[in-house]
């Protein structure tokens, strides 16, 4: 079993597998997002304190979760590549970074548009907001660093070190609302406590988070395919792929 799974660590074997998986995850992402939007706008009730502005939560919270989670996964792949010297790991880390940066931007943007009506300001230098902004810079730094080094093996190693050092920022983001007095509210959903929100709101948020997961898997697999083709362009199997297409 393990050896059958490990064969996909070779870019050549992983390329067609990723190609087969992309449509499935794309369809799942679309269907889950539609269900989440239906609940977000047509089922979830108006919030008695915030009125309709709270509906930003269905974008903001899943995007923020994804931004942190994808960073950990990216650093995990990068670290695996550093430790085992597997080519595909560095490619996976590169494939995840743009989607992670996108979700970080969406979390910051939707947070700004939510902050204005609830706090009266688009931006404050609050610990939660600032550490999330640092996360965006870490993603962009990772992408820029890898792009600046022409040799892929060296780019993977340098990127991995940056990604692993930056991972310290993720618990800082997550616990910032407990460690410091922040304007940003504490966690609304936790594994140890009953959720502090209506069931429909929670369901919409979880569905959107699942959609974001499926979307991230689809985009990462799609992107890793083009990275594989680019890096292995001199390999025999890629040349055969090209003549076949």
């Amino acid at each position: 079993m393990t050896s059958r799974l490990l064969q996909f660590a070779a870019p050549q074997a992983f390329f067609p597998l990723a190609g087969k998986l992309v449509p499935w995850f794309s369809v799942l992402a679309g269907a889950l997002a539609l269900a989440a939007l239906y609940i977000a706008f047509l089922v979830a009730p108006t919030d008695h304190q915030q009125g309709e502005s709270y509906r930003i939560i269905f974008i903001h919270v899943p995007a923020a979760w994804m931004s942190m989670f994808l960073y950990v996964v990216m650093a995990g792949w990068a670290g695996l590549g550093l430790a085992l010297n597997t080519r595909l790991s560095g490619m996976m880390a590169s494939a995840i970074a743009p989607t992670g940066a996108m979700f970080t931007f969406v979390a910051l943007w939707s947070g700004a548009l939510w902050g204005r009506p609830t706090w009266g300001a688009y931006w404050v230098w609050d610990a939660r907001l600032t550490s999330e902004l640092v996360l965006l810079f870490l993603y962009l730094g990772f992408i820029a660093l890898k792009g600046a080094i022409p040799d892929p093996a060296r780019a993977d190693r340098a990127g991995a070190i940056l990604a692993l050092v930056g991972v310290v920022n993720v618990p800082i983001i997550y616990f910032s609302v407990q460690w410091w007095n922040t304007l940003h509210q504490g966690a609304s959903v936790s594994l140890t406590r009953a959720p502090s929100m209506a069931a429909a709101m929670l369901l919409g948020m979880l569905l959107m988070a699942l959609a974001a997961w499926m979307y991230s898997i689809a985009t990462a697999l799609c992107r890793v395919r083009s990275i594989i083709l680019e890096r292995e362009r001199d390999a025999e199997w890629v040349r055969m792929q090209r003549t076949a297409a």
Binding site: F41, L42, V43, P45, T46, H48, G51, E52, S53, R55, I56, I59, H60, A63, P98, T99, M102, F105, V106, W109, S110, L113, W114, R116, P117, Y215, T219, C222, R223, S226
Partner: protein
């Protein structure tokens, strides 16, 4: 504006009411719109 929320799950009386989002239209649609745009740009760059 929140009064119609009680009549059985359906929150909106009309399309205009839906778009107005109880006065928060700019913030709500600004969030959803830019998020959709980001996703569209990412998918577009992947398709190339």
């Amino acid at each position: 504006m929140g009064a119609h929320a009680e009549n059985g799950g359906m929150n909106w009386g009309s399309l205009n009411e839906f778009l107005a989002m109880g006065g928060y239209g700019f913030y709500v649609w600004g969030s959803y719109g830019v998020s959709a745009l980001c996703i569209a740009i990412e998918i577009w760059t992947l398709r190339k």
